[in-house]
């Protein structure tokens, strides 16, 4: 099978949420010495793009985004060790979390899976993450993007606190900050000095890709 055919099969398997086929195609691609980064970006991520398009068109729903995330996670388990070994840089490092006082993480988890599947490195801090924790991880991982999620109008104010912590530490200017969750929008993002607010997971990934210079 040609390299193109293997990557095509991988893409198809992601779109069909066929975990077994994804694992097989990943292993096969590695055997054929396709560079791991290409397996990710030219195989799985292409499948993800189709899923995103179908979601935007209303053919796919939240359940399919979850499935896409889960399917890619299985593929990532196989290629991740090789990605690290080759030292090929990812699209960038993202620090992600649901803000302090908020335990809602469904959307944030989907974003984490989709970002990983698009070639980003993700440090997912989970839910109920304090501004200090965001700051520590951002400094430690030398991230380029910070993503904050909140479901509630009462907890989204913690996004502002986190922004403040990043400014005070003097690292705000080297970062892009993106917000997500039902109560936030671009007006709020501007108000607290963040760079963007995502309408949904697909939109969030698209914004990060744009920042990373991927069309």
């Amino acid at each position: 099978m040609t390299n193109e055919a293997v990557l095509e099969r991988l893409k198809e398997a992601v779109v069909k949420f066929d975990v077994d086929a994804v694992k097989e195609a990943c292993n096969e691609a590695l055997q054929q010495k396709i560079p791991p980064y290409e397996i990710l970006t030219e195989g799985m991520a292409k499948g993800m793009e189709i899923i995103g398009e179908k979601y935007e068109k209303g053919e796919f729903f939240l359940s399919e985004l979850i499935m896409a995330g889960e399917t890619m996670k299985e593929g990532m388990k196989i290629i991740e060790p090789y990605l690290q070994a080759t030292g090929k840089s990812s699209k960038g490092q993202v620090v992600l979390g649901t803000v302090e006082g908020d335990l809602h993480d469904i959307g944030k988890n989907i974003v984490a899976s989709l970002l990983r599947g698009s070639g980003f490195g993700v440090a997912d801090l989970g839910a109920d993450v304090s501004p200090r924790r965001f700051l520590e991880e951002t400094e430690k991982s030398d991230a380029q993007i910070v993503g904050m999620s909140a479901l509630l109008t009462t907890t989204m104010v913690k996004m502002a606190d986190t922004m403040e912590a990043l400014v005070e530490a003097g690292i705000r200017d080297r970062l892009k900050v993106i917000l997500g969750g039902a109560p936030v929008n671009s007006t709020y993002a501007t108000k607290i000095g963040a760079d963007a607010a995502a309408n949904d997971a697909i939109d969030g990934v698209a914004i990060c890709r744009k920042w990373a210079g991927v069309s």
Binding site: V19, L62, S63, M67, E70, G101, T153, T154
Partner: protein, 410 residues
């Protein structure tokens, strides 16, 4: 033709004849009792005015909002009884319900006789299903922090410590209470929401895992949902034996949608969830004449035909801020077969709007949904702590003012 309001004068009430639109006096003379108002409306006929709701565990009011409301109306001695711990929902004081003209009273089943939630020191507890819920400091409600069946396989489902749906404690005194409310009051009686199959499944399993089950591990998904179906059927059999003949509305539900659209693919719903909903609703309808009210948040449009098909009479909460939830279109497309409950925007207007905006919102929903009956006005879902009491009072005053039939809201 605007005589429909008066066509409902079938219960021995005498009505004057003449040009009713021009006769304010006559309109004021004619006042239905709440239960009659609600049953008339639910039969797709116009009553004296649009009925209203602010009670129960999914059309009610949270503790935070309620306390503010009590202070606002000068009720200093009201003790709020929490009827839903996870959501922090209270049963309003009878005086509040009367003041706001609420047409409903709710009936709640009780916890099992010898059961108490397991309590933890971090303001968390474990419920009857074994799910742990925690409230963050200053949080409005409790959120799930673990899913006891996350690692389970099909065999584990047989050995799981399921709640005993028929525990006698759940039904203690309920029949007497329902009978008393039915005979001694004029209110429409409803049972609080229970019977979730899809949501309860993912609460137990975790959303990601259960979604995966629905697509790729169907034996497990179906077995788990069947377990829940059995439990709910056993519950409703006993419950409706006690209260079925007294109640006018039974609340059920499963959230199927989110802000932008369905949260699950409607095809998956139709194959896996709908047949189980149908079985449960058939059982409920065999035990009571009450109308069936289905709750799902979000933009639920693609599911509405399915819900009507399996016996749903009323849809709630009509999340008007979600995509495509246009009340005018909903009424046009489904209004002859489906009633609506809720509809007053709770994401923007109630918490953040002015009282004028609340009035406009109430007028809009009445204009769209109330003609020919079929609409019970209330907030979209429970009223949250941020909602100012002025807006709560304004909502119900406006409902009374603009909700008079025949609807004359421009």
């Amino acid at each position: 033709m605007r005589l429909t309001a008066w066509q409902s004068a079938e219960n021995g009430l005498a009505f004057p004849e003449g040009n009713l639109d021009d006769n304010e006096e006559q309109r004021r003379d004619f006042e239905m009792k709440p239960r009659e108002r609600v049953t008339t409306i639910l039969d797709h006929r116009e009553a004296d005015r649009v009925p209203v709701v602010m009670c129960g565990n999914h059309a009610g009011i949270s503790k935070g909002a309620y306390e503010k409301l009590c202070r606002y109306v000068g009720l200093t001695d009201s003790s709020a009884l929490i009827i839903d711990r996870m959501q922090q929902i209270v049963e309003p004081d009878e005086r509040v319900l009367k003041k706001l003209g609420i047409d409903f009273r709710f009936i709640y089943s009780k916890p099992p006789r010898n059961w108490k939630p397991t309590e933890y020191s971090d303001d968390s507890y474990r419920d009857e299903w074994g799910i742990r819920w925690r409230r963050p400091p200053n949080g409005y409600w409790y959120d799930m922090v673990d899913h006891p069946l996350e690692q389970a396989d099909v065999e584990d489902l047989e050995n799981y410590n399921w709640p005993d749906a028929t525990d006698a404690g759940r039904f203690e005194g309920l029949e007497r209470e329902a009978k008393r409310l039915y005979e001694n009051t004029d209110y429409a009686l409803a049972t609080a929401l229970t019977g979730s199959i899809y949501e309860q499944s993912w609460y137990l399993r975790g959303l990601t895992k259960f979604t995966f089950d629905l697509y790729r591990n169907r034996v497990f998904a179906e077995r788990l949902m069947d377990k829940l179906l059995q439990i709910h059927i056993a519950f409703f059999e006993r419950f409706l034996d006690s209260v079925g003949k007294y109640v006018q509305v039974v609340f059920v539900g499963d959230d199927l949608a989110e802000q932008k659209g369905p949260s699950m693919n409607p095809a998956i719903y139709r194959t896996l969830v709908k047949p189980r909903h149908e079985k449960l609703y058939r059982l409920i309808k065999s035990k009571t004449q009450a109308k069936l009210c289905y709750h799902s948040c979000g933009s639920v449009i693609p599911f509405i035909e399915d819900l009507i098909e399996i016996g749903v009479d009323i849809l709630t909460p009509i999340q008007v801020s979600a995509a495509k939830m246009d009340t005018q279109k909903l009424k046009e497309e489904f209004g002859d077969r489906l009633c609506f409950l809720g509809g007053v925007d709770s994401q923007r207007v109630l918490p953040f709007g002015t009282t004028d905006e609340v009035k406009d919102e109430v007028r809009k929903r009445i204009r769209d949904l109330a003609p020919n009956g079929g609409y019970i006005l209330g907030a979209v879902h429970n009223i949250q702590p941020e909602v100012p009491p002025e807006n709560v009072c304004t909502m119900f005053e406006a409902a009374k003012k603009y909700g008079q039939y025949p609807v004359q809201v421009a």
